[in-house]
Assembly symmetry: C2
Homo-oligomer: 209 residues x 2
């Protein structure tokens, strides 16, 4: 029997958001409630599309880049490798990635120290430019991370931009604390949005499949 | 090799919404754009949680009912049967369901005339109370429909309420036009929300798995 690992962040007011910027918080508003004499309870949600677990599309950091509907479910569903990078302190470099034995066509999910905290870490472990170039050389299909971003502290955003230019998909905001390194069947299911640069997603892994 | 059928509605301004009520439309707002001298393109989305393809939780129609996080991914991922009910004109009754050979534990997705239109149909084919009672008797785990609702035209909402009271999960707003009747591996992936009555979802079927 298979086992499901939910690797998504819960989206709710007060959650961790990028750089703790208050305007990036989601809000949930009740628009109909049993208590008000209505028969139904209904809510709206207002959120950044980068809130919590999400998929980025090239437009996010490339002017004129492709939008989120260009990334089909076929690219977000299939086997993926969870790799343990919890020893990395500042960033993930080519030297950190080389021992992992990644091969062409792999989808790789980085388990870092970010999976063990629920607040935004301004020093979160990020993928350094040389690590991104290594993934591109290898022909990696996609990369996921448990930090809210795959990159910080690099002028001109070379990690994002080189990945986007080379059709490597980026997923951010995963929760991998309870997942051991290994190979799983991955589902990343973004809301079906169109014409914009990202979409919030539910993501999970299936073990034993 | 498996084949993926995306059975989700695209969420965008101008899409079909319940009873064409304007306040139920989603809105997408750009908050940062390359053209404005920013390095990044970023958007927010504001939507009803019943917009497009979504999962309902009991709180939607039962005062004090369970909220969306009570429905785990284990209940939304697994084999499901797509059944052809395109011949039904007004509603789906017990008599329409009996010939289908549904059995305890099945997940069932109704393919009706709603899959063939992209505008709200005030006369959409719905599940009549006696049909809901039949699904409950059988011990069906969940029911999905391609209409924006599983029910209309019934006082006191007995279809919703009886399904909710008996832990039958309800998914609404599927797109099944391109899916032949049969058994598929189903993924319904709602946004990971908490404390409210529903969540928008990406849903897909995998054939040949």
């Amino acid at each position: 029997m298979f086992k499901i690992y939910d690797i998504s962040m819960t989206v709710k007011p007060g959650m961790q958001v990028w750089e703790n910027i208050a305007s990036k918080q989601p809000s949930i508003v009740n628009v109909s409630n049993h208590g008000s004499g209505q028969a139904v309870y209904e809510s709206r949600i207002d959120m950044e599309v980068h809130c919590g677990t999400h998929v980025d599309a090239p437009l996010h950091m490339l002017k004129g880049g492709e939008t989120i509907e260009s990334i089909g479910l076929e690219e977000l569903v299939g086997y993926a490798r969870v790799v343990d990078l919890t020893h990395c302190r500042d960033c993930i470099t080519r030297a950190d990635l080389e021992p992992l034995g990644l091969v062409r066509g792999d989808w790789v999910l980085f388990k870092t120290s970010s999976s063990f905290r629920d607040t935004f870490d301004e020093h979160f472990v990020y993928l350094k430019e040389d690590g991104a170039r290594y993934l591109i050389e290898l022909g990696i299909r996609g990369v996921g991370t448990d930090a809210l971003g795959i990159e910080r502290a690099q002028l001109e955003l070379p990690t994002h931009r080189s990945l986007f230019r080379n059709q490597v998909i980026i997923v951010e905001g995963l929760r991998l604390k309870d997942v051991a390194p290994g190979t799983y069947f991955m589902v990343v299911a973004p809301l079906k949005l169109t014409g914009i640069e990202a979409a919030p997603a539910r993501a999970f892994l299936i073990g034993g499949m």
